[in-house]
Symmetry: C2
Subunit: 431 residues, 2 copies
């Protein structure tokens, strides 16, 4: 273990945490909707936060670039310019009416880790470690605008799918068009891809987005895996009829079918231990107060720790939908818009994160909690090109994707310490 | 009974019905959405159909005007210029993705009745009856644009409510603003009101918007009353949470509450004989695939033959909503946006419509069916200033508020005959 693997001065950590909190506030003001936080892929707000992030990257000595998919990158070279890079990152995009920490806090903590670890040289800075340090601020993790999540990290992973170009946002703008309007060249998206042989791994700090650490009274956790997820857009077709004149025995009400379906998802998933299903969107068409809905569309987000369990639950839901829609004279179909296998965090990276967390605990404390992430993360895409490790921060009451989303400055300070110590532990491992 | 109360020549009736069908097709092409029929209050399409209707009114010898609420009126004076007027009418606005007959066919049939009954004089025409004839093409019956039905006929009835000015359409345009953009003066809407002492009554022909006549194999029916209706906009509030990270025991999912509510409406109304409840609109907020909905909004349309029964069912629904939302940790509230008492058709007008239908039947046929209208009609507003009578036409399979809405040309020919004979019977009644 190298000599400098010691605790960082508490005042430096507290200052770093305060800066992270202030910058979360600053980024929260970059929003498409005043009074709410809304920052989606390839929007003017995306361009503005990339410029801010680039400025902050340069402030800690990194060279910066925006990649071909709109991700903002900063790099601090190692003494050996041919060294591979350890990626640290998270995302800067948000859901609608978001909180201010999901993703954002991980990017800002990574910058503080770089600030703590860098060493001055020739009026600039280098990574003192056997690898370069990169901070990646991913441009689209949530999938808010185009319904497809992990667009930014998929580009970095080289797993971009050309079918996505025709995805449209709520205004009918295609992903291709949005690229052009943002000033990106769709034909060059492949240039964002990174080669596995130039990477050491990927580490991400993130709020838990769940109540486990809060319930246990712990600040930090090692993440064991990122949940297996599938997303569907479902459509139910019946027949639009006059609301007054159509007796119940002649109705084929698509909205009632969809309502039963939403409740069936809840009932089936509740009966399982580690499966969560959510209907977040539902709309009836034509959507008039005096017309029996002839069509309903809704989304289904399904997550589990293991792929097989998740798929078995989807099969059970599909059987229920057959029964419900058959009984009501409705047709239904599902289009799968997202399918991500569970990603196991690399054992080595779990170990170094555990060591990092241990450095923040009193001697003799219990081992840090190890939990799996029900939420999806950029690591799901990045896991196809390099090892992934994640550090979770306590998220009071588990509230996320909501303006009340929170994290405490003391937990952020502990998180920065653990994150930086993890990187040092990784540097101390035999290559 | 006057000498000319005889059947009209069948070829004149067939020609009239063909013209009505052709004009329904022509009006169907006046739409805001190509390939669908969509014509809402105070839209450019509204102005275009008013111009067409005015042209057709003048063609049968009527003088025309557009009133202060955008209704298109035609008048054929009686020999006695001080005579009261019999109003014949229906509406020209539509729901979204409408059929081509609801409302429209009644306006066009009224014009054919005028054409059959008018008598030439001095190079023009007059009503040969002891009353003037007016055709009213109401501008807003459906309430599609502002959520409030019967705006056109409410203006004629003098029951305009100044609170409506602030109603907004989906684009945020207020009713007041829409009046101005259409070229109408909100301050003068009161001028559209008619005085009871200048009116004989109001007769309307309309497709049934239900399956009764189709099931019975009959072309025409006397309407006994227009259903009692209430409409509500309901809001359910829970808490928006991250879809993956929030376990079921911490969720307060507003959409699941609304889904249960929609199913409760169906269950409670189905257990009643003459009550129909419909949830036509439902939406979840913030409406993202990966957020547990913190809010849901939905509409409820409730109709019955009698006000008391309808209100008792609403009370039962409200009790169910208390239980559902209480159990799920949700809050709910309802805003009543429409409340129309049942309107009984005047016995005299029911009688003359029955006589009119009898004139179309073989001697010795059963008495014409008498049914109540579950759908709302302009007569609900007009009933406050004059007697109302209605004639229903068979509506194959009861399909209405849908592109497949239909009526047959032979039924329209019979309807025109019955309608014209009804007017003659009314003229023959002692004043």
């Amino acid at each position: 273990m190298p000599a400098r693997l010691t605790s960082f001065p508490p005042d430096r950590l507290a200052t770093a945490a305060r800066r992270v909190m202030a910058r979360c506030d600053e980024l929260a003001r970059v929003t498409a909707t005043t009074g709410k936080i809304e920052r989606v892929y390839l929007s003017p707000e995306h361009a503005r936060v990339n410029r801010l992030a680039a400025e902050w990257m340069r402030e800690v000595g990194m060279t910066t670039r925006q990649d071909a998919a709109g991700n903002q990158l900063g790099r601090l070279e190692a003494a050996d310019a041919a060294a591979r890079a350890l990626l640290l990152g998270s995302h800067l995009d948000t859901v609608l009416d978001a909180g201010r920490f999901d993703g954002i806090v991980g990017v800002l903590m990574a910058l503080e880790v770089v600030r703590l670890l860098r060493e001055p040289v020739d009026g600039g800075f280098v990574s003192p470690l056997p690898f370069a340090l990169e901070v990646l601020a991913f441009s689209d993790e949530e999938g808010t605008r185009f319904g497809k999540a992990l667009l930014g990290s998929s580009a970095v992973a080289g797993s971009w799918n050309d079918e996505w170009w025709s995805l449209e946002d709520a205004d009918g703008t295609s992903l291709r068009q949005a690229f052009l309007e943002f000033g990106l060249d769709p034909a060059r998206v492949g240039e964002a891809a990174r080669r596995p042989d130039e990477l050491v791994g990927y580490l991400e700090a993130h709020i838990e987005q769940g109540p486990e650490l809060h319930r246990r009274g712990e600040s930090l956790a090692v993440v064991s895996s990122i949940a297996s997820a599938r997303r569907f857009q479902l459509q139910v077709e019946g027949e639009a009829r006059h609301a007054g004149g159509t007796p119940y025995d002649m109705r084929r009400d698509a909205l009632l079918g969809a309502s039963e379906a939403a409740l069936a998802v809840e009932r089936i998933c509740r009966s399982e231990h580690h499966i969560i299903g959510t209907v977040g969107q539902l709309e009836a068409f034509p959507g008039a107060v005096n017309i029996v809905p002839g069509e309903a569309r809704f989304s289904l987000d399904l997550r589990g720790e293991f792929d097989g369990e998740r798929d078995r639950v989807w099969d059970a839901i599909a059987r229920d939908l057959d029964e419900i829609m058959g009984r009501r004279g409705l047709r239904w179909r599902a289009r799968e818009v997202h399918n991500a296998a569970a990603v196991m965090c690399a054992p080595l990276l779990q170990d170094v994160i555990r060591e990092g967390i241990v450095s923040t605990l009193p001697r003799g404390a219990d081992a840090p909690p190890v939990i799996f992430s029900r939420a999806g993360h950029d690591g799901m895409a990045i896991g196809s090109i390099t090892d992934v490790g994640m550090l979770f921060l306590r998220n009071p009451d588990g509230i996320s994707h909501h303006p009340d989303e929170a994290v405490s400055a003391p937990d952020v300070a502990l998180g920065i310490q653990a994150f930086a110590e993890s990187v040092l532990h990784l540097a101390a491992e035999p290559a």
